[in-house]
C-alpha cells in the first residue's frame, strides 16, 4: 500500500500555493491568475450552522414538551433529565430542478336528485417545472428520530466544529443524488395531482450538492426505570424528536370515545342507508370505522408517545388500492 497520504496543492504553472474550496471544480491561482481545474473527487461544499442553544434552553424545551400531548401525567414531576449534550449531524442537501409533463384524467362522480350516479372523466395535462430542495441525513440516524434537515436557514460558522462532537458522513454521495432525483420526481408527480396517469415524463437536473452540519441537542431522561431520549433543534430551539411514556388513562379515554362516536356514526350511516339508500350512509359507516380504527390504534400503542422520523414508528395508514380513506370520502362528493 502507498505510504503517501498527503498531496500538497500547488499551482502547476507558477508553483504558488493554492487553496481549493471543497466542492468547486475550478479555481484561479492567486499569484499568476491561471485557471485551474481539479480532476477527480474533491468532495462537496460544506455548511456548518452555528449552535444557538445552551444546556438550560435544551432542558427547558424538553420540560415544556413533557406537558404537551398525551404523555404520562406525572412525567413533569417524575421525569429526571440525566444528560444533555450537543452534536453535529451531517445532512446531504441537494437542490434539484424537475421538469416534466403528467397526462391523465380524474374521475368525478355526481349523483342527481333521482339518485342516479354518473361518473365523468375530467382529462388533465399538467406541466411540472419546479426547483426543489432535498435533504437526507448522511449517517445512520439510529434512534435519533431525525432524517431531514430541520431548517435551511441559520448562521453559518465553523467555530463550534471543534467543540461539539460531529457525526461523520458515512453514506454515498451518488446514492444521495439518486435519492434526490427520485424524490424530485415523486414530488413533481404529486404536485401535478392527476389521479389516473396515462402518460408521464420527467427530467431532473441536479443544481447544487452540499453537506450541512446541523447542531442538535440530545436530552436523555429517566421515567421510572426507563431511559428516554429526545432531541432539540440547536438553531431554533424547537423539539425535533423524542420518545415519551404514555398514560393508560388517555388510552382508555380514547378508545371509549372512539367506540362510542364511531359506533354511533356507523349506526347513523346504516339507518340512512336503509331508509334513504343514499351514499351518505356509506360515508357515515366509513367515517365510523376510521374513528374507531384511529382510536383503537392509540389504545393499542399509546403507551409510548413518539415524535419524529423513527423507523419503527407505527403509522396509522389505511390505504385501499393506493388511496387513503380520506381520499375515498372526498371522492364520493356528497
Amino acid at each position: 500500500m502507498s505510504d503517501r497520504l498527503s498531496v500538497g496543492l500547488n499551482c502547476p504553472s507558477c508553483g504558488g500555493a493554492i487553496s481549493v474550496t471543497e466542492g468547486e471544480s475550478t479555481t484561479n491561482c492567486r499569484y499568476c491568475g491561471s485557471t485551474l481545474y481539479i480532476e477527480g473527487d474533491n468532495g462537496v461544499g460544506t455548511v456548518v450552522f452555528k449552535n444557538k442553544l445552551d444546556r438550560d434552553a435544551a432542558i427547558k424545551a424538553t420540560q415544556v414538551w413533557w406537558r404537551k400531548g398525551f404523555k404520562a401525567r406525572d412525567l413533569k414531576n417524575v421525569g429526571t433529565i440525566t444528560e444533555v449534550y450537543p452534536i453535529y449531524l451531517p445532512f446531504w442537501s441537494i437542490g434539484t430542478r424537475v421538469a416534466g409533463w403528467v397526462c391523465g384524467y380524474e374521475e368525478r362522480s355526481t349523483t342527481d336528485s333521482k339518485g342516479n350516479t354518473r361518473t365523468e372523466k375530467v382529462y388533465k395535462e399538467e406541466m411540472v417545472l419546479q426547483d426543489l430542495h432535498y435533504s437526507d441525513i448522511a449517517c445512520d440516524p439510529g434512534d435519533l428520530g431525525i432524517r431531514s434537515v430541520p431548517n435551511f436557514s441559520g448562521e453559518a460558522s465553523f467555530e463550534d466544529m471543534d467543540m461539539i462532537p460531529t457525526f461523520e458522513s458515512t453514506t454515498s454521495h451518488d446514492d444521495a443524488i439518486a435519492n434526490a432525483k427520485a424524490d424530485a420526481i415523486e414530488r413533481g408527480r404529486e404536485s401535478a395531482n392527476v389521479p389516473n396517469i396515462t402518460f408521464e415524463k420527467f427530467h431532473v437536473l441536479v443544481r447544487k450538492v452540499s453537506m450541512i452540519y446541523y447542531p442538535v441537542w440530545v436530552v436523555r431522561y429517566t421515567y421510572q426505570d426507563r431511559m428516554y431520549m429526545a432531541t432539540v433543534d440547536g438553531v431554533t430551539g424547537r423539539m425535533l424528536s423524542g420518545r415519551a411514556p404514555g398514560d393508560p388513562l388517555y388510552q382508555s379515554l380514547a378508545v371509549t370515545a372512539g367506540t362510542s362516536l364511531g359506533g354511533l356514526a356507523a349506526a347513523g350511516g346504516i339507518i340512512t342507508l336503509i331508509s334513504f339508500d343514499s351514499e351518505v350512509g356509506i360515508a357515515g359507516v366509513i367515517l365510523g370505522l376510521i374513528v374507531f380504527g384511529a382510536t383503537y390504534w392509540f389504545f393499542r400503542h399509546g403507551s409510548e408517545i413518539v415524535q419524529g422520523e423513527f423507523p419503527d414508528r407505527k403509522e396509522l395508514s389505511m390505504r385501499i388500492n393506493g388511496q387513503t380513506m380520506m381520499d375515498r370520502i372526498r371522492g364520493l362528493r356528497i
Binding site: L5, S6, I18, G142, D143, V255
Partner: protein, 247 residues
C-alpha cells in the same frame, strides 16, 4: 487525531476523521488527504453508560409490542461492554461512489449482521484512544478477503469499531438477547417476548358493535338506547383502563 507529514516541509500535520483538506500549521500549504491506498482505524466513543444502557433497554422493553411489564419482569443476567469491528469501504464503481459495509468479526448477536454503521463521531483509533474498559471484539475476517472480491476502485477503506452494550435477560424461563447501540441508543433484538393484541381488540370491537346496536335501538326506543349507551361507556372505560394497565 492522526498525523501525516506535510509533503512540502515535512512538518507533522494533524487531521481528523472526516477531513479531506487541511492546512500545514508550519508552512501553511494546503494539503489533500488521499485515503485510497491506506487502511484507517476508527472508533466511535460510548455515549451510554451501563445504567443508561439498561434504562434504554427498559424503555424499549416497555414498548407496546413487547410482553406486558417486560421492562419490570425481565431479569437481566448479563451486561457486556464491547467494541464491534466493521469494515467500511468507499469505492468508485462505474463512476458511482458506493459505501459498502462488511463484518470484520463473525457474530450471532442480533442487529450486528444487519450491517449498518450507527451514526457517531468517528475518531481515529490509535494508542491514545480511550476504550473505556470495553472488550475489543477481534476482527477474525481479514480485509484482503473482501478487497479481492469487491468491485470498482478504492477511495477509502477503514475498520470501524462501534460501541455496543450486549444484554442477556430471562423472561418466563427463556433467555433472550438484546444489543443497545451505545452511540445512537438504538436497540436491536431478533426475538423477544411479544404482547398479544387479543384483549385490546376484544374490548374495542365489543364496544364498537354495542354502540352500533344501541344507536339503532335508540331510533326505536330512545330511552332504552340512551340508558344502555351510558352503561356501555362506563363498561368500555373500565375494561380498557384495565387492559391498558395490566395486559
Amino acid at each position: 487525531m492522526a498525523e501525516i507529514k506535510c509533503p512540502k516541509c515535512a512538518g507533522p500535520v494533524q487531521f481528523d476523521a472526516g477531513t479531506r483538506f487541511t492546512k500545514c500549521s508550519y508552512c501553511s500549504s494546503q494539503i489533500y488527504i488521499d485515503r485510497s491506498g491506506a487502511l484507517f482505524y476508527y472508533a466511535i466513543p460510548f455515549t451510554l453508560s451501563e445504567s443508561d444502557a439498561v434504562g434504554t433497554f427498559k424503555r424499549w422493553a416497555g414498548g407496546s409490542t413487547k410482553a406486558k411489564d417486560l421492562d419490570k419482569l425481565a431479569k437481566i443476567t448479563k451486561v457486556a461492554k464491547k467494541y464491534f469491528p466493521l469494515y467500511m469501504f468507499r469505492r468508485l464503481i462505474d463512476d458511482r461512489e458506493e459505501v459498502l459495509l462488511e463484518p470484520a468479526a463473525s457474530t450471532v448477536l442480533p442487529g450486528l449482521h444487519q450491517l449498518k454503521l450507527p451514526g457517531g463521531d468517528l475518531q481515529i483509533f490509535d494508542a491514545q484512544f480511550n476504550t473505556s474498559g470495553a472488550e475489543m471484539v477481534q476482527p477474525d475476517i481479514a480485509m484482503t478477503h473482501y478487497l479481492t472480491t469487491l468491485p470498482g476502485n478504492a477511495k477509502e477503506q477503514s475498520l470501524v469499531y462501534f460501541p455496543i452494550w450486549e444484554l442477556e435477560y430471562q423472561f418466563k424461563g427463556n433467555t433472550y438477547h438484546a444489543v443497545v447501540d451505545a452511540s445512537s441508543s438504538e436497540v436491536f433484538a431478533s426475538t423477544f417476548p411479544i404482547r398479544s393484541s387479543v384483549a385490546y381488540i376484544a374490548v374495542s370491537i365489543a364496544g364498537f358493535f354495542a354502540f352500533i346496536g344501541e344507536g339503532l335501538l335508540a331510533t326505536v326506543n330512545l330511552l332504552a338506547g340512551t340508558a344502555l349507551m351510558a352503561v356501555t361507556v362506563a363498561a368500555v372505560f373500565v375494561a380498557s383502563l384495565y387492559v391498558a394497565r395490566r395486559l
